[in-house]
Amino acid sequence: MIKFENVSKRYPEGHDALRDVSFRLNRGEMAFLTGHSGAGKSTLLKLIMLMERASRGQVSIAGQDLAQFSRDDIPYHRRRIGVVFQNHQLLFDRSVFENVALPLHISGYDEEDIGKRVRAALDKVGLLHKEKLNPITLSTGEQQRIGIARAIVHKPQVLLADEPTGNLDPALSEEIMRLFMEFNLHGTTVLIATHDLALVSRMPYRTLTLDQGRLINV
């Protein structure tokens, strides 16, 4: 599903964020991406999202070489990927419901369909009863779950998460991880970037470790 072949990323300032990275994540697989901050985890996720482009090598998603995608293709590429951020990126000028509905509005679903799907997603993260609230009134853990609901509401093929448990205590982190496991059980390919090694070691999943832009175990 996700394939990196000898991928390097050098930023214009000359900083090498990724060096000769190769790995493969199969359809329906779940894996962790670990490493110190600055090791290149975010860059790797950005390459998958086409927020950045590789300097060398090839990134392919579902068998498609991302280098072939023009600027106009990027939105359609992103629609099959769900992303969860550390800082959740919720919009505080609208309700929980509207936040989760955003990807569906963008993809052009009709209102009725949106209602059903948003409630299903909120139900999955256990926050159906808070749909009318403004996310600013929710706790950090709840906000993170809203962010997850938004990432999975359109049933993406790939779910990416960048430090999804960064601000959470261990109990909440476990809870969030269990959500990701559940989506993975339904067939979604999941890649989670985290530096929480203790949490990773408790999980029975593959771990990719980055060190100064190099993948040191695959």
Binding site: P75, K155, P156
Partner: protein, 345 residues
């Protein structure tokens, strides 16, 4: 807003909706053409739906910040009302000069000492000339009457014991070429009965060049004010884009196309243009109500059949149309420049 967007979206939606989490990798490739067509219709509907809801939300957003919106609208309205007023002013001047245009005439002021019969004979002599199209005699008495009627100085004239006005023969030459006219004027002024010969052309020409100048001025000022409307709308939209930066980044991250992100701002420009030009129209109409009374008095004094022209239906429509176009174009400029720079980090 590109036409191919619904098509492309249709294609993608098929990909993302038809084969959700349970990845059926190449499944969508096997879907028939019929399915695609249905999707296209559905996508077109959703495109219309998004346009409708965006139009509504953009309008509501103007009300969320009433004061800044009102200020912007007032500036737009003034910038649009000024050329509107000038345009109507011009229309009136054109109407006036149109009345005065016509064929050039030469007024022959006869010697004051010339008896009435001599004047009569002179005008008949003029009638025989082959180079004149029309000849009209205005006798001393007629001239006095007309003067009394138009000037309103009848009381003053009663103090004069003698009619001070000369008899005038107004002739209209056949040939309107300037060289011919001046030659004719020279020839007529030599005649013993004639004291002075005045070519009305000079006046008409002066007026015409004044009108030309005014037309050009209105055009230049109108263009400058249109430019200011563009800049005001563009700047307002730029600020609005800045304030919604987070939203734009998130939307782009979850797969919003450029067209989708642009749409609300284009509609904001549309509303600014529409409402701004409507207020401008009200300004122009109020201005006309205010000046119509004094203009009416002026017209009465001059006894002309001049009628004050106002913004007609077509002109009103043009004013609002220009406003909407400028709003859309200003938004387009701001959006094209700034939205590309906002990318998710």
């Amino acid at each position: 807003m590109s036409n191919r967007e619904p098509v492309k979206r249709g294609a993608e939606r098929q990909r993302s909706v038809e084969k959700p989490a349970v990845d059926g990798a190449a499944a969508s490739a096997h879907k028939g053409a019929a399915k695609h067509k249905v999707d296209f219709v559905a996508e077109f509907k959703s495109w219309v739906r998004h346009n409708k809801s965006t139009a509504k939300q953009s309008l509501q957003r103007l009300w969320l910040t009433p004061l800044p919106s009102f200020m912007t609208l007032a500036v737009l309205a003034i910038a649009l009302a000024l050329p509107g007023l000038m345009f109507v002013g011009l229309k009136n001047i054109n109407q006036l000069s149109g009345e005065w245009k016509g064929d050039p005439r030469i007024s022959l002021y006869l010697q004051k000492t010339l008896p009435a019969e001599e004047a009569e004979r002179f005008s008949q002599k003029m009638l025989l000339r082959t180079d004149l199209a029309a000849v009209e005699l205005v006798t001393k008495e007629q001239g006095l009457h007309e003067f009394q009627r138009i000037s309103g100085f009848s009381d003053v004239l009663e103090f004069l014991d003698k009619n001070p006005l000369p008899a005038v023969v107004v002739v209209q030459p056949l040939d309107n070429k300037k060289s011919v006219l001046t030659a004719l004027q020279q020839e007529l002024i030599e005649l013993p009965e004639v004291e002075d010969a005045v070519l009305d052309m000079v006046w008409v020409e002066r007026l015409a060049s004044f009108v030309r100048l005014a037309n050009r001025l209105v055009l230049v000022l109108g263009a400058l004010l249109a430019l200011s409307v563009l800049l005001v709308v563009g700047n307002t939209i730029r600020l609005s884009i800045e304030s919604r930066k987070d939203e734009i980044q998130v939307a782009k991250l979850v797969g919003a196309t450029d067209a989708w992100v642009k749409r609300p701002f284009i509609y904001t420009g549309f509303w600014f243009g529409l409402i701004g030009s409507f207020i401008a129209w009200i300004f122009v109409e109020i201005s006309f109500l205010l000046i119509s009374a004094p203009v009416g008095q002026l017209i009465e004094l001059y006894q002309t059949d001049f009628e004050l022209q106002r913004l007609g239906f077509m002109d009103s429509l043009s004013l609002i149309g220009v406003g909407v176009l400028l709003g859309l174009f200003g938004a387009r400029l701001a959006v094209g420049r700034h939205l590309r720079e906002i990318e998710p980090q």
